[in-house]
């Protein structure tokens, strides 16, 4: 029983991180109809920024975990927010009129640039880094399940972040502007919305969310390496598509669905085929994605497509 609980908890945790990445993809796709594939690597930058902040604060003498956490999150979110906005300003907006495949390719390449830059220029960047364990590590029993406080905090933090973004999109004036741009950029401009500012803000928002996911990922695994972004990016992209691009609920559902697939894979595969290496769980998850794409090409909550000829 407790084992199943552990699996579910692990799945929830993964799902939360995936959902946060997927929400970013969906936000970008909403406002500009583009896929920013460097998203995963922006997340990785966020994690490294958090790590740097923590190291710097320890060096200065600030050792209180709460302050460190706060500094970590603020620095990571701030830096990646600026990075995201810069990417939008200098790469994605100039390519807006180009074929969509060019944008995808350019951001894929940007992802490589970011990844390689961290690997080459961050001190000892090619090796995995230990991420400081700043959260309380105590645990308590709930029924037959053993819950760790730090994981619970991470889960709640993720939930709060997603809920916050959701609240902002649906309830505030800025969110209204984002939704207006997403619906029809030209008309939004006619209504006096500053198109570029909204786009840049959306990219900063999505990237900040990714940075938070990156820090959470680091805190959860107590480790971060330069390659973490590629896989998380692909998974987040897959999750966003599973749920249907441009739809925030879809992205969240997609994130948890993908995590469920992965957990299911790691439980079911050894049960069906004994002695199969656990590394096959990623193979299983990606196979599932490909099959899913063949079955429901535009995701669960389909994007409305109509084309002006």
């Amino acid at each position: 029983m407790s084992e199943i609980g552990q699996y579910i908890f692990n799945g929830l945790m993964l799902g939360m991180i995936y959902a946060m990445v997927a929400v970013g993809f969906t936000l970008f796709f909403g406002v500009l109809d583009v896929i920013k594939f460097s998203h995963g690597d922006v997340l990785m930058v966020g994690a490294f920024a958090g790590l740097t902040a923590s190291i710097a604060m320890t060096a200065v003498g600030v050792t209180s975990p709460v302050l460190q956490l706060l500094g970590m999150v603020l620095f990571a979110v701030g830096l990646t927010g600026v990075l995201g906005a810069a990417i939008a300003k200098f790469l994605i907006l100039p390519l807006h009129k180009a074929p969509p495949l060019n944008t995808l390719l350019a951001t894929l390449m940007l992802g490589t640039v970011i990844r390689e830059a961290v690997r080459l220029f961050y001190p000892d960047g090619s090796n995995p880094k230990r991420f400081p364990a700043l959260l309380p590590t105590s645990s308590f029993e709930l029924g037959s399940m053993n819950l760790r406080v730090d994981n619970l905090i991470l889960l709640v933090a993720g939930l709060t972040a997603i809920a916050g973004v959701h609240f902002m999109i649906t309830r505030t004036k800025l969110g209204l502007a984002i939704r207006a741009v997403a619906q029809d950029g030209e008309t939004a401009r006619l209504m006096g919305i500053n198109f570029e500012a909204v786009v840049l803000f959306t990219f900063a928002l999505g990237s900040g969310l990714a940075a938070l996911a990156g820090v959470m990922n680091g805190l959860y695994y107590n480790e971060v390496n330069f390659g973490v972004g590629l896989l998380l990016g692909v998974i987040g992209f897959a999750a966003a598509i599973l749920g249907g691009l441009g739809n925030m609920y879809g992205a969240i559902i997609g994130g948890f669905l993908f995590a469920a697939l992965q957990v299911l894979g790691s439980v079911l595969l050894p049960a069906l085929i004994p002695e199969i290496p656990s590394a096959y769980k990623d193979v299983f998850a990606f196979t599932a994605v490909i099959i899913f794409m063949a079955w429901k090409p535009t995701g669960l909550i389909a994007e409305k497509t109509s084309e002006r000829v």
């Binding site: 350019a106 390449m109 390689e116 096959y280 990623d282």
Partner: protein
């Protein structure tokens, strides 16, 4: 006449480039090439050249072939240079496949290295465990790559743009993870590939000519050149024919294509399968030449490196693939200090090209069906 001069000059340049040992010499040569390109563009020599090539395409091809043969003859005793030439030719062959997919029909394939890898692995297994003649093994490896690729056809066809891209990206990562965890396929260590036997003669034994030392890579380079030449001829014939025309229409406007009665799905399938076939063939031969295959040669980054070659050469212009492959593959080997930074460098280069010169270094020309219409 101008063509011959240019061909001699280019062959000489590539010879010097491959020959250059010191970092400074290579750097000088790179600067030289850059300024030569700039000067010829300013003086209009580029236009004269392009017109000459358009006038005498046969001569241009014959000269390129002659240049390649001269280079092989000049480096007949140096293993390393010949191995690099093999890599350039075979990567260019795989990129010909990607050009058919990306450049002609607009089918996204972000798993080029995976299909290349399927070719290598299929060859490793077939050559080690069966008695199939090796020429046939190469063709079969290409077919296997195409057949495995056909698994992706349904999701790729049912989706467009980003969605199709995701499918191939997922496949590329899936492939690498799969061979890495699969013990039968050697896991992370990879597999040995036996050297090639051609009509009972093992190519690894090399050729003996008294008095001249000849590297055993020479036959391999010639074979790579042959494969590249065949695929090149096939792809350029394809581009000139109604097949290429249909693919172009499908890429530029699907709605218009279907209004004119073109079967969009059919052309995409044809392009995707042929492209993977070419990548598989190239991978197969490459596996035999390097004698060894490992998952780390077929990562997502390698797929992106292949795409860099395609974009750098000018999307859809197959003549640009060789110079692009030379830049992407040989330059890092020559300038040791950029070896470590090559992924970073070429990714950045592609971004710059996409932003400022999306047509690539050598843009694709409009096809000319009648020689008389060629710009004089």
């Amino acid at each position: 006449m101008s063509l011959t001069v240019a061909a001699v000059a280019m062959t000489l340049y590539v010879w010097m480039f491959l020959h250059a040992e010191s970092q400074a010499a290579v750097a000088v040569l790179v600067v030289l090439a850059a300024s030569a390109v700039f000067a010829s563009r300013k003086l209009g020599a580029t236009r004269v050249m392009a017109a000459a090539v358009a006038q005498r395409p046969g001569l241009a091809r014959a000269l390129s072939l002659a240049g390649a043969l001269v280079l092989i003859a000049a480096f007949h005793d140096s293993h390393f240079v010949l191995l690099m030439l093999c890599a350039v030719l075979l990567y260019a062959t795989a990129c010909l496949g990607l050009t058919v997919q990306f450049g002609y029909s607009g089918v996204a394939n972000f798993a080029g290295a995976a299909f290349f890898g399927i070719g290598s692995y299929a060859t490793a297994i077939m050559a080690a465990h069966t008695q199939i003649p090796h020429v046939l093994v190469i063709v079969l490896s290409g077919l296997i790559a195409a057949v495995i690729g056909s698994v992706l056809i349904t999701p790729v066809l049912r989706t467009r743009g980003h969605y199709a891209a995701l499918v191939t990206i997922a496949f590329g990562i899936l492939f690498k993870t799969f061979i890495e965890v699969n013990d039968v396929l050697g896991g992370p260590q990879g597999l040995q590939v036996p050297g090639m036997k051609l009509f009972g003669v093992s190519l690894n034994d090399g050729i003996e000519i008294p008095g001249v030392e000849i590297s055993f890579y020479v036959p391999y380079v010639l074979l790579s050149l042959l494969v590249f030449g065949l695929v090149y001829a096939l792809v350029s014939a394809l581009e000139r024919s109604w097949v290429g025309l249909s693919m172009d229409v499908v890429r530029t406007d699907e709605t218009a294509a279907s209004t004119f009665g073109l079967h969009i799905a059919r052309w995409k399938v044809v392009a995707f399968t042929t492209g993977n076939f070419f990548a598989g063939i190239a991978g197969s031969l490459y596996g035999m030449i390097s004698g060894f295959v490992a998952p780390n040669n077929f990562t997502f980054s390698d797929s992106l490196l292949m795409l860099s070659i395609v974009i750098l050469g000018g999307l859809g212009n197959i003549a640009g693939l060789i110079p692009a492959a030379l830049i992407v593959l040989v330059l890092p080997e020559k300038l040791q200090f950029i070896q470590e930074y090559r992924f970073l460098l070429f990714a950045a280069m592609v971004i710059v090209i996409l932003l400022f010169r999306p047509q690539g270094l050598l843009p694709r020309k409009t096809r000319i069906f009648f020689r008389e219409e060629a710009p004089k």
